[in-house]
């Protein structure tokens, strides 16, 4: 683990992951293991051309890597880069926000159970 400062949020990375279609694409690639603009296009309500464009954005941000396959490229998620992106994007603060929300949910459930 290197000592990178906590708040180095890369703009490219953020805009890559900030788009719902691209997040959906990452989900599908994680789920299926890999995919091409054609296979992803079949599962998304956008054109193959739009998918190819989105893949380009994800590729430039380092979130996916493409291997040439015939006339297309087959893409996989770069899990190391995705883990780094997530670590950068979620500060220590948001980690605690999530924990506190879980504490709240658990305590309120116990309270309701005891009152019932």
């Amino acid at each position: 683990m290197s000592g990178t400062p906590a708040r180095q949020v890369d703009d490219d990375l953020w805009s890559a992951i900030g788009d719902p279609t691209r997040r959906r694409m990452l989900d599908l690639l994680l789920q299926d293991g890999d995919g091409t603009a054609t296979t992803l296009g079949q599962r998304l309500p956008v054109s193959r051309q739009a998918v190819a464009k989105h893949l380009g954005v994800l590729d430039r941000a380092g979130l996916v890597r493409g291997m040439p396959q015939g006339r297309e490229k087959r893409y996989r998620v770069d899990e190391a880069q995705l883990a780094r992106a997530i670590a950068d994007l979620s500060s220590v603060g948001s980690a605690w926000d999530a924990r506190l929300q879980r504490i709240k949910r658990i305590a309120e459930t116990i309270q309701r159970t005891r009152q019932a």
């Binding site: 400062p5 605690w96 709240k104």
Partner: protein, 153 residues
């Protein structure tokens, strides 16, 4: 390295007794944070919290109880080197303060320590979470980050 303090407050519709139990007992702590928590909730107790499966690349993190005053205060130190005494400078100090408020409790969490250490701890944790919960876990956090970013711009 820079010393940082993080403070969060949340209102919980449950009595301080219940909230205290949830923030301090290992059985509850592992429901909202690590995969396993092994410590006695008494002052000075040394223990550990576990992320993932230690036999399969998971990680064990030192955890040391500092203050236990039910139902007001629970604090602990974590991330110090295994076997070392947890002190200022080698660990993060987390303090939960509970205040009765209406029919519920105001829970205030403060984490103090070197920022870099906190960041490393967060990365460590997320690395293991990613494989178990994936986007279900991270997406809400990314969305709240986006809202944050939007508010600041």
């Amino acid at each position: 390295m820079e010393l940082g303090t993080l403070t969060r407050e949340v209102y919980i519709e449950a009595t301080p007794d219940v909230v205290f139990e949830v923030v301090s007992s290992p059985e509850h702590v592992k429901q909202w944070w690590p995969d396993d928590a092994r410590y006695e909730p008494v002052p000075g107790a040394e223990g550990e919290i576990v992320f993932g499966d230690p036999a399969a690349g998971g990680t064990v993190v030192s955890f040391s109880v500092v203050e236990v005053q039910p139902p007001r205060t629970f604090s602990f130190r974590w991330t110090h080197p295994a076997g070392a005494a947890a002190v200022h400078g080698n660990s993060l100090l987390v303090t939960f303060d509970l205040t009765p408020s209406g029919s519920g409790t105001l829970l205030r969490m403060t984490e103090t320590g070197f920022r870099e250490q906190g960041w490393e701890a967060a990365v460590l944790e997320e690395r293991y979470r990613e494989h178990t919960t994936g986007w279900d876990f991270f997406l809400p956090r990314l969305v709240s980050y986006a809202a944050d970013l939007g508010a600041r711009r």
